[in-house]
Structure formats: C-alpha cells, structure tokens
C-alpha cells in the first residue's frame, strides 16, 4: 500500500506543473436528514469511514504522514466498488462549525485541483440535520483546447454530481435507519 501511494504521489508531481483552464466549476448539493446533527457530524468527520455511508466506496484506508511541506497530515485511500481509487488529503476538521474540508490528491474522477467541504447544520426542524456538500474543481484537461472527450467541464461536473447525489441519498438512509 505504501509503495502504491508513493508511486501515485510521484506520478502526481509533474501534473501540478501544468496550467488548468481558467474557469473553476462548482457542485453544491444539500440534503435534510432526520437525525441529530451530532450524530450526522460524527459520521461525516470520520475521515477513514466513508465506506459506512457512500455506496460507491468499498474501503477507506487512513494514512498519517508528512505532506509536501513537511507538515503532519492525514490522507485516505478510497477504493471504489468498481476497482478505481481516489487518494485524498484531509485539510480541516472544524467541530465548532461541523465542517470537514478535504482535497483530492489523485484519483479516477475527471477533475483537477478538487477541494471540497461537507458541513452539517441543525434544522430545519428539531432533531433534523441539513448536510451541504460543496466541491470546487477544474476539468481534467488542463491545457489549451481542443479538449479530449470525457475531460471537459461537463464530464467533471457530471462525475462530481453523481458522487454527491449517490452519497447523500445513502447517507440519509444509513442515518435514518431505513
């Protein structure tokens, strides 16, 4: 596993030297869950437990190591049920705001410079929670057009939308005990 991650990190380095397109894309999805905010937040902040609620995730392996700046950091390797992987870095866990921030280091989604937040807020009704998942990213193809098929803005938005819609719907099921 360590070797794989090191290899993925090495492969990733040259990518950051490329320019990406100038228009970042956004996907924002919200769902209301009939569960206590503390319970919802506990599930979301568990960075190594995404397989508990996301239906596309088969396993989630946490890793602690130094990041590119020599700082201690938390990473996770998501292995998807279709065999693909996504390697992510935890950027921040804010208990006061019930807000998680992470970025994709490398993975199968057709995106570049992906950063995301997941936030839990109490309401609208008592005992309910509202979860908002926001992603900012660029398309996969980072150079001058023409853009190869599957690497354009729409492909990136569609892929992230699929991840968010599927994940939030299943999170609701898991937390509401259906």
């Amino acid at each position: 596993m360590k070797k794989l991650i090191a290899l993925m990190a090495a492969l990733l380095l040259p990518l950051t030297a490329f320019a990406h397109g100038p228009a970042p894309q956004k996907v924002e999805k919200t769902i209301t869950i009939k569960a206590d905010p503390a319970k919802v937040w506990a599930l979301i902040k568990d960075f190594g437990g995404m397989q508990k609620w996301h239906p596309a995730v088969a396993s989630d392996a946490l890793e602690q190591k130094k990041d590119e700046n020599g700082q201690d950091a938390t990473f996770r390797l998501l292995t998807l049920k279709d065999g693909g992987t996504i390697y992510e870095k935890l950027r921040d866990v804010n208990d006061a705001d019930m807000k998680l921030k992470y970025e994709i280091v490398q993975g199968v989604l057709p995106v570049t410079s992906y950063i995301s937040t997941m936030q839990v807020k109490a309401g609208p009704a008592s005992g309910e929670s509202t979860v908002t998942w926001i992603g900012r990213f660029y398309r996969k193809y980072m150079l001058n057009p023409p853009i190869p098929p599957g690497e354009d803005d729409k492909s990136a938005i569609d892929a992230v939308t699929g991840v968010y819609d599927g994940g939030l719907a299943n999170m609701k099921k898991v937390l509401e005990g259906q």
Binding site: A19, A23, P24, K26, R91, I115, R136, N144
Partner: protein, 319 residues
C-alpha cells in the same frame, strides 16, 4: 423678490453639487456562473443592475473617464464593454485567445488583456479595439498592474513563478522578477513604490520594490491566496485567502499580517474604497463588506453565481 430666485437656484446648484460629490462609486462584480455582472451602488450597498455579458466572466477593469467597464469572458473568448452611464452592453470584442486578467493604463488609452493559454499580453487602443499589439510573455499570465505614472506594466506569470516588467508604451520586456509559487493577483501601492504579488501555492505575498525590481520581503498569509488590494494611504494590504475563507490584513510598514478576517466562502477579487474593503465570494455568491477601521465584516451583498471580480472593479459612475 428679484434676488430670491437667484439665491434659490444657487442653493439648488449647491445641493446638486453636494449630492454629486458625496455619491459613492459603483462596484462591477463578474459572476462566472451566471454569465453576468452585478452593479453595486456602494452608497446603498445594493445591486442596482445586472448586465448579461459573455460566457464565464472573470476579469474586470473599470474606466471611469471613458465611462466604460471591460469584462473578460473566458469561455466565450471575448471582452464585453459596459456603458457605465446606462448599465448596458456597448459591444463585445471577439478574441483569438482566452482572456483572464485585464488592466487599464492610468490614462485609459490602453487596455491590457492577459491571454491565459497563448502566453501573451494583448494591448488594445481603447479608442479602436479592432487591432491589438501583442507581447509574448511567461506561462499562464494572470494578474496585472500598471504603475501610477503609466510607464510600467507588471504581469504575474502563474506557471513561470515570476513577474514580468514591461515598458507600458513600447511593450518591451525589461526584466523578470522571481517570486513564490504560482503568482496570481497583483496590486501596486498608490505611490507606485511597492508591488504586491500573491503566490497561490506558496501561501505568501511577495513585496517588490517596483523601481528596483527586487523582492524586499515575503509575507506568509493564509491558505491558497489569490488577490490583493492596497489602501489609499498605502499602509494596509488586504489579501484574499481563498481556501481559508478569510482576508489577511498586512501592515505595509512592518511587512507582516496584523489581522485575519473571516469572510464568505472562497473569497477572490478584492478592492479598497473609502475605508471599506469589498470581497467577492465565489462559493457564497455574495460580496462581503469590511470596515477597515474595525476589521469587522459589516455587510453582505447578494450577487450572481460564482462571483470573482478579478481586477480593478470599483469606479465612479456619472449621475
């Protein structure tokens, strides 16, 4: 009775003049996700007009003397020209490139356009936008600034990690200044002495002696900073930390951050006007208003989708 109308009209004139003098300027906020520009009256801090422009507008340069605002549309490869007097589109310049950064010479005779993909700056005569002169530049040119005397154009080459210094009249490259990783936004002090380059990947701001062309200090700021604005007296520099959801306040005399202000999510474009700072929030679709005397957020103005306002976006409009 004869003198009365004269006095009255003098009074009226005085009132009208006073009204004009105190009228606040307007902010022109590019909304990348809704293909329009929100015009904010800074007196009321409300959007008074929304103007449809090209696809994915990002850059903005306001020309108060010409009463025009130039907008770069990255997805439709064009520059939209807005009439400030009537808040309508005057026209659109089609380009064979991808415009991002925009800046005007102080006399408003030249509009500089950074072409992201073709690594060049296009210089347009604002009186005749049919033709342009080109300058080949470093990789992914982004933010630009012109010295207050109009002699120098500075360009942040994001993927070359340097700032190009260009003679703004003959468009010759005079030199390059190495800065931190991925410089994006540039701002220059009103006296033209200090240039600030915002280094996105280095989480820092390079302070450049604009005359000597050397970096005099590097100031750590917040996460993934994008843009900077300098106060009118030059004493403070405000920097948007896009992934920190905050604005760093730099004391220019001490070259260090003296405050960090939480603002709406993913702040990008920033401008200073009359002791307030206006910040476009890409993720929350608002402009945050900061009172610089207290460093508190005192307002939030709803705009269009994915507000960026990359450039000099505040100007006085006619009345």
């Amino acid at each position: 009775m004869k003198p009365f109308p004269l006095i009255f009209s003098t009074l009226l004139l005085a009132l009208v003049l006073a009204g004009e003098a105190s009228a606040a300027p307007f902010a022109y906020i590019t909304n990348q996700g809704s293909d329009n520009v929100s015009v904010i009256d800074l007196a009321s801090e409300k959007v008074i007009a929304t103007i449809t422009v090209g696809k994915a507008p990002v850059g903005v340069a306001a020309a108060p003397a010409l009463q025009r605002v130039y907008i770069s549309n990255v997805d439709s490869n064009s520059i939209s020209i807005i009439d400030m007097a009537h808040n309508v589109m005057l026209g659109e310049i089609a380009l064979d490139g991808t415009p991002v950064g925009l800046v005007l010479s102080p006399d408003e005779k030249t509009l500089f356009v950074a072409d992201w993909f073709q690594d060049r700056i296009m210089a347009f005569d604002t009186a005749d936008t049919q033709r342009h002169r080109d300058i080949a530049i470093g990789k992914a040119p982004a933010g630009m600034a012109v010295s207050p005397d109009g002699t120098r154009l500075f360009v942040a080459n994001r993927d070359s990690d340097d700032i190009a210094v260009i003679d703004a009249r003959n468009l010759k490259i005079l030199g390059r200044i190495a800065v931190g990783k991925h410089p994006f936004g540039l701002a220059i002090s009103p006296d033209g002495k200090r240039l600030y380059a915002v280094n996105v990947y280095a989480n820092s701001v390079s302070v450049i002696d604009a005359h000597a062309g050397v970096v005099s200090a590097t100031i750590p700021v917040g996460e993934h900073p994008y843009c900077a604005a300098v106060s009118t007296d030059g004493s403070r520099v405000y920097v948007t930390n896009t992934q920190g959801d905050s604005v760093a306040v730099i004391d220019a005399a001490a070259d260090r951050v003296v405050a960090t202000i939480a603002v709406a999510a993913f702040p990008e474009g920033i401008a200073y006007n009359a002791r307030k700072v206006y910040v476009a929030s890409w993720s929350d679709d608002t402009v945050s208003v900061i009172d610089t005397s207290t460093n508190q957020v005192v307002g939030s103005i709803p705009t269009g989708k994915r507000s960026r306002a990359f450039g000099q976006f505040i100007a006085e409009a006619p009345h």
